[in-house]
């Protein structure tokens, strides 16, 4: 039974791995309601340091499409904050707080004014600061001259959780205009990313195609496209899940077959007696197959808890991928996954019981009875 439970646990884990990443990523993308993202041509959002010029012009072009409801331009940069005799570095997003989709406010308020900044808990911890404190924030570091393009005194107005933030990442957000001013000439009217919300009922793919036609220097990524690209990059884990899942199912099948076969061999005499008193072959087959199903089912129930524990452990390992958003889970429990694993095991149990059941039902009755008597 323990063997079947372990096979069931492995199977559940692999089903979770095969479907979890995609579902987790999809949930992350739709969490704020932005169906499209625009990145510099040929890149994924924040994959490179490239930026998109002409924010005002691009926004104007997009507003001409009645299917586009909201546009959120985002500018990314690095910041440096002196604390004592050291500098704390982090990433900053320049956003429009009224339409942003990058963070969730935990306490305080959005950076509505030009001298406001919101930070995540990790950065707060690094700075030893709290909401209401004043920081001297610099950006645009030039390693040649060891100077910054801009420095400002900003007030921490809120504590946030960055939806796409990775573990142990120091992050902050401020108004995009503030960041542009700090970065100076080379970053005026530029964005690292646009997030676009379409009108309810509008076809996001059609809007995506329209954008790419109208604005040739961007790559427009819909949720479906983004998921497909992530699928391609992480296809290895899906394939591994399929292979290990198949192996687990096969091993489980083998175990149940062995158990049922041994059980049938032990009870050859009893089965012969049952056949002798008139029990039909079909009834004998049915009983033995049900035995196999029962073993599989019991193993699956036992394996559910074990599977969830190992999935949590494996997810902890994979969550350490550098740059991976904290919200992404590789092993995501979905009831559908559990039902799929159970169904596969039940079918495997039926299959495992069929052969020994057929053998048992086909035993010559007289010979089996004689052998039992002699034994």
């Amino acid at each position: 039974m323990l063997g079947v439970a372990i096979a069931a646990a492995m199977l559940l884990d692999m089903v979770m791995l095969a479907t979890g990443m995609r579902e987790s990523f999809r949930r992350l993308l739709v969490s704020r309601g932005f169906e499209l993202r625009l990145a510099p041509k040929g890149t994924l959002p924040f994959d490179t340091d490239a930026t998109i010029p002409g924010v005002a012009a691009i926004t104007s072009i997009m507003r001409s499409n009645p299917d586009i409801r909201e546009i959120s331009p985002v500018l990314g940069a690095s910041i440096h904050i002196p604390v004592g005799n050291r500098d704390v570095s982090g990433s900053v997003l320049g956003v429009d707080p009224s339409v942003q989709g990058d963070y969730e406010l935990l306490s305080g308020r959005d950076p509505l004014s030009a001298d406001a900044i919101v930070v995540n808990d990790y950065l707060l911890q690094q700075l030893g600061a709290r909401v209401g404190d004043t920081l001297s924030v610099a950006t645009g570091y030039d390693p040649q001259t060891r100077t910054y393009s801009g420095r400002r005194t900003l007030v921490i107005t809120g504590r946030v959780r960055f939806i796409y933030g990775a573990n142990e990442q120091s992050s902050a957000a401020m108004r995009r205009e503030t960041l542009e001013a700090m970065r100076g000439g080379d970053m005026r009217d530029r964005a690292s990313l646009f997030m676009v919300r379409v009108r309810e009922g509008a076809d996001a793919e059609r809007v995506r195609d329209w954008i790419e036609t109208q604005i040739p220097n961007v790559t427009a990524i819909s949720i479906a496209t983004a998921i497909a690209q992530v699928d391609a990059r992480l296809s290895y884990f899906r394939q591994l899940a399929v292979i290990l899942g198949a192996v687990s199912l096969f091993v489980g099948f083998l175990l149940v077959t062995t158990l049922v076969t041994v059980s049938v061999n032990e009870r050859a005499g009893e089965i012969a007696v049952m056949r002798a008193i008139g029990v039909s072959k079909a009834h004998v087959v049915q009983q033995i197959v049900l035995e196999g199903v029962a073993i599989s089912f019991a193993g699956a129930v036992l394996g559910l808890g074990l599977g969830l524990v190992t999935a949590r452990y494996l997810n902890t390992i994979l969550s350490a991928f550098p740059g991976l958003p904290m919200a992404i889970d590789f092993f995501l429990f979905q009831p559908k996954a559990a039902w799929s694993a159970l169904a596969l095991l039940i079918v495997s149990g039926i299959g495992a019981g069929v052969y020994p059941a057929w053998r048992a039902a086909s035993l010559p009755i007289a010979e089996s009875l004689r052998r039992e008597a002699i034994a």
């Binding site: 063997g3 041509k41 040929g42 030039d142 990059r233 296809s235 687990s248 091993v251 494996l314």
Partner: protein, 291 residues
């Protein structure tokens, strides 16, 4: 900016007038195999390179305007095969190699680079060299290549840990399966063992015979497993090298790996046999007969 540019920066212009010197004086670039296949390019083809997608797009448009000053017409001089770099797998980047000054001109980057790679002689004091560079360094820092590799290999460390965890789980699971099957198989022969015991065969002889049997099965199983593992490794490499267009070897079967697998298999096989047989010989023979 990297020495390499992204594919979107290339424009193939067969009909627009070249913005620069006549073809005879054009410089060459090299592209990788994936790029050549996707863009249907071959050595000798003339293309225009620009770092601005809008330059490319506008030149492609109805106006057919020539590319701007940040573009250069070049000839495909060579198609190169990429190295086995794990960090490039699954990224799908297309790569171009240009002369440094070419890229600096096209990108408008000026007299700048991302990094210098320094090769030293066999007897060079590396640490001393690094220290001498860093002392007067202004705006950059020198590192050993090995140290950078460690820092940038976190992704592969995570994958390694994951593989190790899967390996441990698989071994534990396999041990349990093996034990289950050994117990069942030995249980099947309990009447034979009971008969042997009643004939006077000692417990230790019975245990020894079962262990020898399980050891033999473990050896045969290990050999079959090694062959299967080697075949699976070939299949994995062939599949993923085709999928990611890389010469990288994803799976390598080495002597230490084989030795470890065979030793573990033997240990588990003998252990399972021992546990199963001990369980049986401790039961009185008549009880094994079911009396």
């Amino acid at each position: 900016m990297l020495v390499f540019v992204l594919a979107s920066s290339l424009l193939l212009q067969g009909t627009s007038p070249p913005p620069q010197a006549p073809p005879g004086r054009l410089r060459t670039i090299a592209i990788d195999e994936a790029f050549a296949a996707r863009a249907n390019l071959k050595p000798g083809d003339t293309v225009t390179v620009s770092s601005r997608a809008d330059t490319v797009a506008s030149a492609r448009g109805a106006g057919g305007r020539a590319p701007g000053p940040d573009a250069e017409r070049v000839i495909i001089g060579a198609i190169v095969r990429r190295g086995a770099d794990p960090s490039e797998v699954a990224r799908g980047d297309l790569r171009v190699r240009m002369h440094l000054d070419q890229l600096q001109h096209v990108s408008g980057y000026g007299d700048r680079v991302d990094r210098f790679a320094i090769a030293t002689g066999p007897s060079t004091d590396i640490d001393g060299t690094i220290e001498r560079i860093n002392r007067p360094a202004f705006g950059f820092k020198a590192y050993r290549s090995r140290d950078i590799a460690v820092e940038t290999s976190r992704t592969f460390q995570v994958v390694s840990r994951f593989h190790r965890a899967i390996g441990v789980i698989t071994i534990v699971a396999s041990s349990v399966f093996l034990l289950c099957i050994m117990v069942l198989k030995v249980e099947e022969r309990r009447r034979d063992i009971a008969a042997l015991r009643l004939m006077g065969i000692s417990r230790s002889s019975v245990v020894r015979s079962i262990i020898i049997e399980s050891a033999l099965v473990a050896v045969l199983g290990s050999l079959l497993g090694v062959v299967l593992g080697w075949a699976a490794s070939l299949l994995v490499n062939s599949h993923y090298q085709a999928v990611y267009s890389t010469p990288l070897e994803f799976s390598i079967v080495t002597t230490p790996v084989v030795a470890f697998a065979v030793s573990l298999s033997l240990l588990l096989g003998i252990g399972a046999g021992l546990l199963a047989s001990l369980r049986l010989v401790r039961t009185p023979p008549l009880e094994l007969f079911g009396r």
